[in-house]
């Protein structure tokens, strides 16, 4: 287990399509632009978490490389340097329709440890960008001992998104009894649902948590993604870049520094 390395480890969960990867990538970019050594590990079989940190390029996944290279797998085959020195990794997953995605995440994590990824890159902060709900042991892996210390949940005011957030919060609470990751709070990624702020705030309160940041819906995000970049990289002077900068401040504050 990866222990003893002084680093902040943060998992970002949320329903599929809610904007986890966009949020996480912009967080990574904002912190990397400040000179921090950031590592982002995408834990989603569709493997596009880090795309906007890599100039729009999808990087080979740990599982694909493992299948291809077997025991000859090297760290360089799975970890790639993106915007402002961010170290990007995609766990990957099985062929759609078969296999076990949760096992894929476990395998990818084990491989990163075996290859000494954390010792080699010495990140100041690691983001785990994790798909959807905590549906099985594999998707709960980032919450467990030795991995993330804090979990943030990205949600909108849409019911399915809030439902997923409640499930994730429940899993974090269960694991929290074992001294694992704690729920840092909800990140509200606005979809302009009616009464959205109140809905998300109420959901946060029901989870015994809080809304740490509100990200407004803004065309800048799409404009940046069309260029294969984060807002922080493509439009550094935009108001949205400022939003992500403040989100980074909040996340660091909650994570203790």
């Amino acid at each position: 287990m990866w222990k003893g390395v002084c680093v902040k480890k943060i998992a970002i969960y949320g329903k599929g399509g809610i904007g986890k990867s966009t949020t996480t990538s912009n967080l990574s970019a904002a912190l990397a632009a400040r000179g921090l050594r950031v590592m982002q590990i995408g834990c989603d079989p569709k493997a596009d978490s880090t795309k906007n940190l890599m100039g729009g390029r999808k990087i080979p996944t740990v599982l694909d490389q493992l299948r291809e290279r077997g025991s000859g797998l090297r760290l360089e085959d799975i970890a790639f340097t993106g915007f402002a020195g961010t170290v990007c990794v995609e766990a990957g997953g099985p062929t759609p329709g078969i296999g076990c995605a949760g096992r894929g995440i476990i395998t990818a994590f084990e491989k990163l440890e075996e290859l000494g990824a954390y010792e080699r890159y010495q990140p100041d902060i690691v983001f785990y960008d994790v798909l959807g709900d905590v549906v099985c042991g594999g998707f709960a892996m980032p919450i467990r001992g030795g991995y993330a210390q804090q979990v943030f949940i990205v949600t909108s005011g849409e019911m399915m998104s809030l439902y997923a957030a409640a499930n994730i919060a429940h899993a974090v609470e269960s694991f929290g009894k074992r001294g694992y990751a704690r729920l840092g709070g909800l990140i509200q990624n606005c979809r302009n649902v009616e009464d959205e702020d109140a809905l998300v705030a109420r959901a946060a309160a029901e989870c015994g948590s809080r809304v740490v940041s509100v990200i407004p819906r803004d065309r800048a995000v799409q404009q940046a993604e069309n260029q294969g970049m984060t807002v922080v990289e493509a439009l550094p002077d935009s108001s949205m870049a400022g939003v992500y900068g403040r989100l980074a401040d909040r996340v660091l504050e909650v994570a203790g520094g």
């Binding site: 287990m1 025991s71 075996e114 099985c136 042991g137 594999g138 709960a140 001992g145």
Partner: protein, 419 residues
């Protein structure tokens, strides 16, 4: 088939295939019992193996079904342990809870499970172990993982002494070997192996030792962990049958003990005896072709090289893979002895039995089975063998093999192998 490489194919497993397995290996932990958590069919191999070893009272099974797999089964384990303990005549000091490869999909939080078990059953050490052949080829295959768990039970805290631990091998080094006097001559203490302890308390002596001697690769990770955790340094001294490697090993041991080679115990008489034993066996075996098999040696390519250097006629080396510790010798064989056939024992075409060598002498039971050898030497997994005495023993076994035709069935039974 002279493949000269190891292909990733459908595997053939002969009745003589395999070693001790994780169940038998784990049973070396004194005063320990094992609880297997798996679907019932996964328990067959270990159960038969342990019945043959007459240790079945130390083994229990918690069979899991489909609903347990879907929901996770970690909450079923503590009550199962409770029931197991109630059925035992004495309270064990250690419970090894084995999960199968199924658990790699379920992702049970084993650290949390161990904490729960320790809290519920104070005084008993629990270790969650994996019986997962899918980890073969990884950095921590089952044979390595079980040794990590076994030696993680050494707790330290006793006064350090001059004892030396022997790790990696699954049987004690023969007490008649020169290593023991050599260690004494360097001012070191006894050579300790887990198999000689019957009480958990006495086993803790190994935590006081000043050195871990790793003689088989399966113990290297455990030695590294002991170095970090208890501060016991490690020295790698692989079993070898080549005189120059044996001497190099002893020289490194003397260096570690800060003793000049000239002041270390003189091993020349042992070397001479080993050489004489090799000459005698060579004369008796003559031109009978040898099959050198990985069931006999951790490093079959190294053993084959040694036998060729002693003048034997090695016809075949048989192995399922070439481990990193043996790669140098495989390269040597390819360059200097290209006539030696390299047979991948688990290759799917082996099942045709096309390459039988009925007039051969096999060193290793699996080699004897596949080649249909007339003779078979009783050497299994380097057990008991080390240094010059190991060479002498190997040569004696080669000679003894000629005394009677091979009885492969009997050997399989005596080694406790299970198909």
């Amino acid at each position: 088939m002279n493949c000269g490489c190891f292909a990733d194919t459908l595997h053939y497993a002969s009745p003589a295939n395999g070693g001790r397995g994780v169940v038998r290996t784990g049973m070396m932990v004194p005063e320990s019992v094992q609880l297997f958590v798996c679907p019932f069919a996964c328990g067959r191999h270990g159960a038969i193996s342990i019945m043959k070893q007459e240790m079945k009272r130390r083994l229990a099974y918690l069979y899991v079904d489909q609903s347990d797999i879907i929901s996770g089964y970690d909450d079923l384990i503590p009550p199962a342990v409770e029931e197991f303990l109630q059925a035992l005549p004495a309270r064990p000091r250690v419970v090894l809870v084995f999960v199968s490869c199924l658990d790699d999909l379920i992702g049970t939080d084993n650290d949390a499970l161990e904490d729960t078990l320790h809290a519920r059953f104070p005084g008993i050490r629990f270790r969650v172990c994996h019986m997962n052949p899918i980890s073969l080829g990884s950095a921590t295959p089952p044979g390595v993982s079980i040794q990590n768990k076994m030696y993680s039970l050494l707790e330290g805290g006793r006064a350090p002494d001059r004892g030396v631990n022997c790790l990696g091998n699954l049987a004690q080094v023969d007490p008649r070997g020169e290593i023991h006097a050599f260690l004494a001559g360097l001012g070191l203490g006894e050579l300790r192996h887990i198999s000689r302890y019957t009480s958990f308390e006495d086993y803790q002596q190994m935590g006081s030792s000043c050195l871990n001697l790793v003689i088989a690769p399966q113990g290297k990770q455990a030695a590294g962990q002991l170095e970090r955790r208890l501060g016991i340094p490690m020295l790698t001294l692989p079993v070898s049958y080549r005189l120059e490697e044996i001497e190099a090993g002893y020289r490194s041991l003397a260096r570690w003990a800060d003793t000049a080679w000239e002041l270390a115990p003189d091993l020349t008489p042992w070397r001479d005896r080993a050489l004489a034993a090799a000459e005698r066996a060579r004369a008796r075996v003559g031109e009978i072709p040898l099959v050198v098999d990985a069931s006999a040696f951790q490093r079959p390519f190294g053993a084959a090289r040694a036998l060729l250097e002693y003048g034997f006629s090695v016809a075949r080396v048989q192995a399922g893979e070439c481990i990193p510790w043996d790669e140098e010798h495989l390269a040597w064989l390819r360059e200097h002895a290209p006539q030696v056939e390299i047979l991948q024992s688990n290759h799917h075409r082996v099942v045709r039995f096309e390459g039988q060598l009925p007039h051969s002498l096999a060193v290793g039971v699996d080699g004897a089975y596949l080649a249909g050898s007339r003779y078979a030497a009783d050497v299994f997994n380097d057990e008991g063998l080390l240094g010059y005495h190991g060479v002498i023993t190997l040569m004696e076994r080669l000679e003894q093999a000629l005394d009677a035709p091979a009885d492969v069935r009997k050997m399989i039974h005596e080694y406790g192998l299970v198909v």
